[in-house]
């Protein structure tokens, strides 16, 4: 019997290794897998490359992971926020590397990795600082920049419900990066509010098919 349900958060993140690339879902706090991040902090893997839209808010979640000095590099679109003081301090001290990418390019680079695309030409960023040094091409009269996929070893995402085959549905705008990060990682780990029996999720409305998900863990698990 296939059962992707992991009994504890601790087990769900146990094999995240030093130096791993880890995608973390969420846009601000919506969709941020706080329970999995806390488990990763407790687990202690270091030298991580993190992929997220932001670089942490306040002192919890992703900000706490940064504060624990577990992150070497962050790939994101919008690190600077009113409450991004943890990132700001590390960045100004030269203790974290930043790869800044426009938000839509970030999403498409993640999607491309999950879809087996080796790179793509996008108009976004052409002629700007963020396209410096990148290959460009004129296609049908429009300028494009070559962007590369972002693959990850692990994805930590938050969903509303999941079943033992890894099928997921999300809640409102907390969906944001979850579905594409699940596709782009070798091992996608979903924290869910509720675990349901097979068949309880309407097959017409499953947002992330279980093929993209390796582990499901209840967010209140140990």
């Amino acid at each position: 019997m296939i059962n992707k349900i992991i009994p504890s958060l601790e087990e769900a993140v146990a094999d995240i290794h030093d130096g791993a690339t880890v995608m973390i879902g969420g846009f601000g706090n919506a969709g941020m897998p706080a329970a999995l991040i806390d488990a990763l902090i407790a687990q202690g893997a270091r030298d991580l490359t993190i992929v997220n839209n932001n670089a942490g808010n306040g002192d919890t979640g992703l900000a706490a992971l940064l504060k624990a000095r577990q992150v070497r590099k962050i790939i994101c679109s919008f690190p600077r926020q009113v409450d991004s003081h943890v990132f700001d301090g590390l960045y100004r001290a030269g203790e974290i590397e930043l790869e800044l990418t426009p938000q839509g390019n970030l999403a498409e680079r993640i999607r491309a990795a999950g879809a087996g695309i080796g790179g793509f030409f996008t108009p976004t960023g052409y002629g700007t600082l963020l396209a410096e040094g990148k290959e460009t091409r004129l296609i049908n009269g429009r300028h494009y920049v070559l962007e590369s996929p972002i693959h990850a070893d692990f994805a930590l995402i938050k969903a509303l419900r999941g079943d033992r085959w890894g099928n997921l549905v999300y809640r409102k705008t907390a969906r944001n990066f979850g579905p594409i990060m699940a596709m782009a990682a070798k091992c996608a780990i979903a924290q869910v509010s509720e675990i349901v029996e097979l068949g309880e999720l309407d097959p017409e409305n499953i947002v992330t098919p279980g093929i993209f998900v390796q582990r499901v863990v209840k967010q209140e698990a140990a």
Binding site: F27, R80, R92, G104, I110, R111, T128, N176, G178
Partner: protein
């Protein structure tokens, strides 16, 4: 010299958004446009974090942390609205499916170049978010900004001195003094919103202006 207030600017932009339009309103000044959309038109607001059919802010106590806009503020969903993931959301923009984006700006050039993401200050922590995607993200890209900086310099310029967000991407500029169309021949004055003459507007503006056809 009369200058439009921020709300008057928003009302002026709102008047030009047609029935059935799919619209993204950028963070800051453009957000005000939502408060002025004509009640008798059905207009679809898109927020790039993943919703279409965005409604107004919820009543106090009704906020839902899973239902936010691109500015991370609590919002509501209109009946008929929907949610989607980030790659689909930016496909709606990049793929040319939106009708209008309204953006704020530091500077716009006579050829429609946009600078709105970075002041160029060497010690600034860079953050771009969806700015570069939005700049190319709709059939019409409208900019809303004060005509002049606090120091009295024109924000409409021959060439942007701030780092660019996009090249030749702006279709129309709404300022507190005028509405300017970006045309192949240059910037055309579509409407003067102040009590000044064309010549006075020209004097305040950093590039040659064309009289409306």
């Amino acid at each position: 010299m009369k200058r439009l207030s921020r709300n008057e600017m928003a009302a002026r932009v709102a008047r030009d958004i047609h029935e059935g339009a799919y619209v993204n309103l950028g963070i800051g000044l453009p957000t005000l446009v939502a408060n002025h959309l004509p009640q008798d038109r059905e207009i679809f607001l898109h927020s790039e974090n993943g919703l279409l059919g965005m409604g107004p802010a919820p009543a106090p106590g009704e906020e839902d942390e899973d239902l936010i806009n691109a500015g991370k503020q609590p919002v509501t969903l209109l009946t008929g609205g929907c949610y989607f993931h980030h790659a689909d959301s930016f496909a709606m923009m990049r793929g040319g499916h939106l009708d209008v984006c309204v953006l704020g700006a530091f500077q716009v050039s006579a050829t429609g170049d946009l600078a709105n993401w970075h002041t160029g200050a060497p010690d600034a922590i860079p953050a771009v978010g969806g700015a570069m995607d939005l700049a190319l993200g709709a059939k019409q890209v409208y900019v809303m900004m004060e005509h002049l900086t606090k120091g009295g310099e024109s924000k409409v310029v021959a060439h942007c001195t701030y780092p660019l967000t996009g090249i030749g991407c702006v279709s129309r500029i709404y300022t507190d003094l005028a509405v300017l169309d970006v045309t192949p021949d240059g910037l055309a004055v579509r409407e003067i919103l102040s009590d000044i003459s064309f010549e006075e507007l020209q004097q305040l503006t950093g590039v040659p202006l064309l009289r409306a056809a």
